[in-house]
């Protein structure tokens, strides 16, 4: 590792007065403000920055930006450690802790480098051909080693302490990329009056201009452009913001990052945020990425993209070589060579083309660049650092040139990814040897290098045109823009890179995936020649850099092997750069993962010893501590309470719908299996709704409060479904029915007062109101006002006891609840929770959501077939007649009594008839279980083939997960009070 200081004493876009200290594997180092981790390491003379994925070859930085495949680091400590970050994109901050990856024990000395020697065995697809023996499961043995060897960095182990956010944004025109074309486009669109968002992944706007020395005259153009944008109130320039993906509806996902190394999460400062931006028009000014050349050992540290070397030199004042060899096939290589030579390097340019324009020659000569035309770099010499470059001259002679930096300029690949995410395939343009955007849909434009226009003047011209067109597309036309006369209009020509003849050593197309020409050769021989086959078989382009430098080279290699000219296309998938899962999740983590729905009585439950449980989105009291410290004991005490005296339970989560209108009766007749139109005012009825396919949609009650005003309840789980179902029918099928449905679930707190003393409880709570059996019989309802509060009182029972449902406006819920508790205190009234509620209904044989109502069962399966009216049509009527649904062997609802006193029935047990072999799918299963406080034994509801036709039979409940078989008897599911005496008491 060279220790020579590399930082030039002056120049660059860095602030030498602000020293930033950081560590690499614990070793303290210093950089300056404005550095990336990459520039700081290089300035410290550290050029070995990683090991490759498969062969563990030593690697240095290939690039200076988003294209970097080699220099990946784990950055941060402990729960903040983030693996696989390209050092070229990590802004240096005080105290940053970085370590290199994929070296065992270290990147400097890596035992896994033995893989490089074994590489003839490890070519593309080798694992498909071996590791199969000796036994069938042998792969599981080998896999352990392969898994350990694979992977890059180590994932953190604790919860992420940082904060993330998601945001929404809108723009008339989104411009992606703040290089010359993007700046020009944003300005043109902004001056036309459009609302513009300009996003730039870098910390600074300028794009390619940032790789020029800030002393250059073009810097003034950049500054002017930024000043003009700042003066436009409807233009927003967002740096540190990466456009990740383009989605339908001109929606772009943006990733913003904090400028702070360790943002202040305690005060809500986010580390990263995802913005979903909906733009009416988009300009892709995403620039281009330089391609490496493919020659033997082109992956050695010190072999670098020419543009990267220039960026390090000019932006970060890091000069990486004194003796530089630069191989190229295009004009930009000459510009870079001249720029590096002007910076003081001794530069030799190897140009594959036999001839170039006199202008280029003159420029090179003026900068002192030595030039070999018609030459090809064939090999890099050196292992941990390049020592020399080998090239063949036009006349076929091999020459070795000592050097400390070997630059590659293989032409530029337009960054067409974003524009192709919605399926617009990029097309190959032979004259510039690159993909360019395909035919973009209306409202999308490309400009500058992204569009294959590499001259500065040309890019700006295109930017202006695209910006104006985008503005026009969104209704802002007509603004005049001043032409920038003095920008250079240099042409760009390129000749597709020629592959050097095969030599010793590996020539890489994909650096991180370790895909060499040899692997492409294997894929070719074995017939994996389609682009997608090549990628999948060799892993070309599948690494964390997503093939930014490798795709085109890999495809060109395959084309050459097939004797075809370069071309073809490939699919680019979002995201453009890897996106952290935390940013996508935003603040929807922990308790905010999903919102919780709380009863209006929630605060009372919290203050009075309720233990809560999730019921879908709802938080409901599971049991109360007055009754016990565990659900197993508490629910029994609560059941006793209801069976013997009186309890009160929160049923606010039930779906509640008011139906108004002259045709409600007719409407309900159609949606319920039973008749409602005949229901008298002041009465309620239990009803079941079916889906069109005759499975049960929901059950509930509906009360007729007035002639044209009805009050319907649904199960908690199906409330939303039922509301939408009713609206669907009214708005699509039966638009003539005069019915309006209004959800009042949030308007009312609901409470069930149940137990033999429940009427007494209400009499005490509602003095002056007649709740006698005559005034309020079973299935009756009343609307009353008590102490100024309007209440609905329905005499309905889920538990099988005498019971009343009381509905009060949500904000009066706690007052009414407490009032009842206070008034009925002499009766011993107490609250009971969901577990008791669900168990009481089992004793009564009521079906319940998700246990018995599971979208599979029909009315008949639930033993409710007799409810179906024959006097009128109802939804599901026709398909209910299908033979499979009427077959006697269908599973239908039964009650089960446990016959083994020392054992218990369990939900999920599989049922068998006595004498059956205990195997296969049995004759049904147990859906719900409880201890019956009335019968003093375990009882259950279940579904059993043939149902109650087998009443009285003794069966086996098999639960092999616990090695259990329990005997049970099939009985009526109505375990208590089959005559309904309690209800009618």
């Amino acid at each position: 590792m060279s220790r020579r200081p590399h930082r030039a004493p002056a120049g660059g876009r860095i602030d030498r007065s602000r020293i930033v200290t950081f560590t690499l594997e614990g070793r303290p180092l210093a950089g300056v403000a404005g550095d990336t981790l990459a520039s700081a390491l290089l300035a410290n003379g550290i050029s070995l920055v990683g090991r490759s994925f498969k062969y563990h070859r030593p690697r240095g930085f290939l690039g200076a930006g988003v294209e970097e495949p080699n220099g990946l680091f784990t950055v941060g400590r402990g729960a903040r450690a983030t693996p696989n970050l390209p050092g070229t994109l990590v802004e240096l901050h005080e105290g940053l802790a970085a370590s290199r990856q994929n070296g065992t024990p270290s990147v400097g000395f890596d035992l896994m480098a033995v893989n490089d020697l074994l590489s003839p065995l490890l070519g593309a697809g080798f694992y498909y051909k071996t590791f199969m023996g000796p036994l069938r499961g042998s792969w599981m043995f080998y896999e352990r080693f392969i898994r350990r060897a694979a992977g890059l960095g180590v994932a953190p182990s604790g919860p992420d302490p940082d904060r993330y956010e998601t945001r929404h944004a809108f723009a008339d025109v989104l411009v992606v990329g703040a290089g010359p074309a993007g700046l020009a486009a944003a300005r043109a669109a902004g001056e036309a009056g459009a609302r513009v968002v300009l996003v730039e992944q870098d910390t600074l706007a300028g794009g390619g201009l940032l790789a020029l020395s800030p002393e250059q005259p073009l810097e003034r153009w950049r500054e002017d452009a930024l000043r003009a944008l700042a003066d436009l109130p409807e233009v927003q320039v967002l740096t540190r913001t990466t456009a990740l993906g383009l989605y339908d509806g001109n929606t772009v996902a943006l990733l913003g990052r904090s400028a702070h190394g360790e943002p202040d999460a305690a005060h809500g400062e986010a580390r990263e945020w995802i913005t979903t931006l909906r733009a009416r028009a988009i300009v892709f000014a995403t620039g281009a990425i330089e391609r490496p050349l493919v020659f033997a050992d082109n992956d050695r540290p010190g072999v670098m993209l020419a543009s990267a070397a220039q960026a390090y030199r000019n932006r970060w004042a890091v000069s990486l070589g004194e003796r530089v060899v630069l191989g190229t096939n295009n004009d930009s290589g000459w510009m870079t060579a001249a720029e590096l030579a002007r910076g003081g390097a001794e530069l030799t340019l190897i140009e594959q083309r036999a001839a170039v324009t006199p202008a280029l020659r003159a420029m090179a000569e003026e900068a002192g660049v030595r030039v070999h035309t018609g030459g090809l770099i064939t090999r890099a010499i050196g292992s941990r650092a390049v020592r020399a470059a080998q090239f063949s001259t036009g006349s076929g002679r091999d020459v070795t040139l000592p050097c400390d930096l070997l630059c590659m300029s293989g032409g530029w690949s337009c960054s067409v990814h974003l524009g192709s995410h919605t399926g617009i395939k990029p097309v190959y343009r032979a004259d510039i040897d690159s993909m360019v955007p395909g035919s973009l849909p209306e409202g999308q434009f490309a400009a500058g290098a992204a569009n294959g226009t590499f001259s500065l003047a040309g890019a700006v011209r295109e930017g202006v045109a695209a910006g104006q067109a985008a503005a026009r597309h969104t209704g802002f036309g007509g603004a005049r823009v001043q032409a920038d006369a003095e920008l250079p209009d240099t042409p760009y020509t390129v000749q597709p890179a020629v592959l050097p003849p095969p030599r010793r050593g590996k020539a890489f197309a994909d650096f991180q995936s370790d895909v060499s020409t040899h692997d492409v050769q294997i894929a070719h021989e074995e017939g994996f020649v389609a682009v997608e086959h090549l990628k999948r078989y060799t892993a070309l382009g599948m690494a964390t850099d997503q093939g930014k430098t490798s795709n085109l080279n890999g495809m060109a290699l395959m084309a050459a092997m097939r004797g075809q000219s370069p071309g073809g296309t490939t699919t680019f998938r979002p995201p453009w750069v890897p996106m952290s899962i935390g940013a996508l999740a935003g603040r929807s983590t922990g308790q905010h993962f999903r919102p919780a729905r709380r009863s209006p009585l929630h605060d009372w439950h919290v203050a009075n010893g309720a233990v809560f449980t999730e019921a879908g989105p709802w938080l409901r009291p599971w049991y109360y501590r007055w009754a016990g410290d565990s659900p197993e004991s508490a629910y029994l005490a609560e059941m006793h309470l209801v069976r013997e005296t009186v309890g009160i339970s929160d049923i606010s989560s039930l779906g509640k719908i008011e139906l108004h209108g002259p045709d409600v009766g007719e409407f309900l007749d159609r949606v319920y299996v039973n008749v409602f139109s005949s229901l008298a005012v002041g009465k309620a009825r239990y009803g079941v709704m079916l889906n069109d396919d005759a499975t049960v949609l929901d059950d509930g009650t509906c009360a007729r409060l007035a002639d044209t005003r009805w009050f319907l309840t649904t199960t908690t789980a199906q409330a939303g479904e039922v509301m939408s179902h009713l609206e669907f029918l009214l708005q699509t099928a039966w638009t003539d029915l005069r019915v309006q449905a209004v959800s009042v679930t949030d308007q009312y707190a609901g409470m069930s007062v149940a137990g033999p003393h429940s009427r007494k409880a209400l009499e005490l709570a509602l003095p002056g109101h007649d709740v006698s059996d005559a005034a309020l019989p079973h299935m009756g309802c009343l609307e009353i006002t008590h102490e100024g509060v309007a209440l609905k009182v329905l005499r309905l029972s889920f538990s099988g006891e005498l019971a009343f449902e009381v509905y009060a406006p949500a904000d009066r819920g706690i007052a009414v609840w407490e009032h009842i508790l206070r008034a009925a205190a002499p009766l011993g009234i107490r609250p009971y929770g969901l577990e008791a509620l669900a168990s009481l209904r089992i004793e009564k044989g009521h079906v319940a959501g998700s246990m018995e109502l599971d979208h599979r069962n029909t009315l008949d399966d639930l033993g409710l077939g007799r409810m179906a009216s024959t006097r009128k049509a109802f939804i599901g009527q026709e398909l209910r007649q299908r033979p499979g649904l009427q077959a006697p062997q269908r599973w239908s609802l039964v009650g089960l009594e446990c016959l083994d006193p020392d054992k218990t029935l369990r939900g999920g047990a599989i049922l068998f008839a006595a004498g059956d072999e205990i195997a296969g799918h049995g004759r049904g299963h147990i859906t719900s279980v409880t201890w019956s406080v009335v019968l003093g034994k375990t009882i259950a509801l279940g579904l059993y083939r043939g149902g109650l036709a087998h009443a009285g039979e003794e069966i086996i409940c098999a639960y092999p997960l616990k090695g259990e078989q329990v005997r049970a008897r099939i009985v009526s599911p109505v375990f208590i009070d089959p005559e309904g005496e309690r209800l009618h008491a």
Partner: protein
């Protein structure tokens, strides 16, 4: 008369927080003491409902679903076909309409307890709301007096722009605590004060 218990009662005691820069750029208030109801027409009775409710003293029902119609203290939003949300500081007229409206023309459903109302105010209000609201809040698109029904963290809400930097959010009561917790968390970086507004006319 039993006392009302606002679902946010416990949560409003927590107080505000300073933001990243030590300031409080937002106020989050709950609005209390108003009456809300929905009046609804049936298939083909929208015009009849307009006439009848007007005759009974209800405000004019708007035909447009984007702008709030204000009439004196009363405010009406057209929620959807034949459905209008009517907000007023007193409920005498609502009760009259409920009693006397021709049941063949329409109906009235009290909803005062069904929604919790928040007022979000401050220079950062729009920026803050865009953390969760997927609507373009640019003043040229969503001007003062505009309202929209939309989603906020999976919850259906009604958002109205009450001033340049002032927004009202109506949230279903049973979701209100969750939305409140979400809002105060979203407001952390801005800093916020919280409170209750009971003054009429807001």
């Amino acid at each position: 008369m039993p006392e009302a218990h606002p679902v946010l009662a416990r949560h409003l005691q927590a107080g505000g927080r300073d933001g990243v820069d030590g300031t409080r750029a937002l106020t989050l208030h709950e609005l209390r003491g108003w009456h809300l109801c929905q009046i609804s027409a049936f298939a083909g009775t929208d015009d009849a409902l307009r006439l009848h409710s007007r005759a009974l003293g209800a405000p004019e029902l708007p035909r447009d679903s984007r702008r709030v119609a204000a009439e004196g203290d009363a405010r009406v939003c057209r929620l959807g076909a034949g459905r209008y949300l009517w907000t007023a500081p007193a409920d005498a007229v609502m009760q009259r309409v409920a009693r006397e409206l021709d049941p063949a023309a329409g109906s009235l459903t009290p909803l005062s307890a069904a929604r919790v109302r928040f007022m979000v105010e401050g220079p950062a209000a729009a920026q803050f709301l865009q953390r969760g609201i997927a609507l373009d809040l640019h003043p040229a698109v969503f001007a003062v007096g505009h309202f929209a029904q939309t989603g906020l963290h999976h919850v259906p809400v009604l958002l109205e722009r009450r001033g340049e930097a002032r927004y009202e959010l109506q949230v279903p009561t049973t979701w209100a605590v969750s939305v409140w917790e979400w809002l105060t968390d979203a407001a952390l970086p801005f800093g916020y004060d919280i409170g209750v507004d009971t003054a009429p006319g807001l």
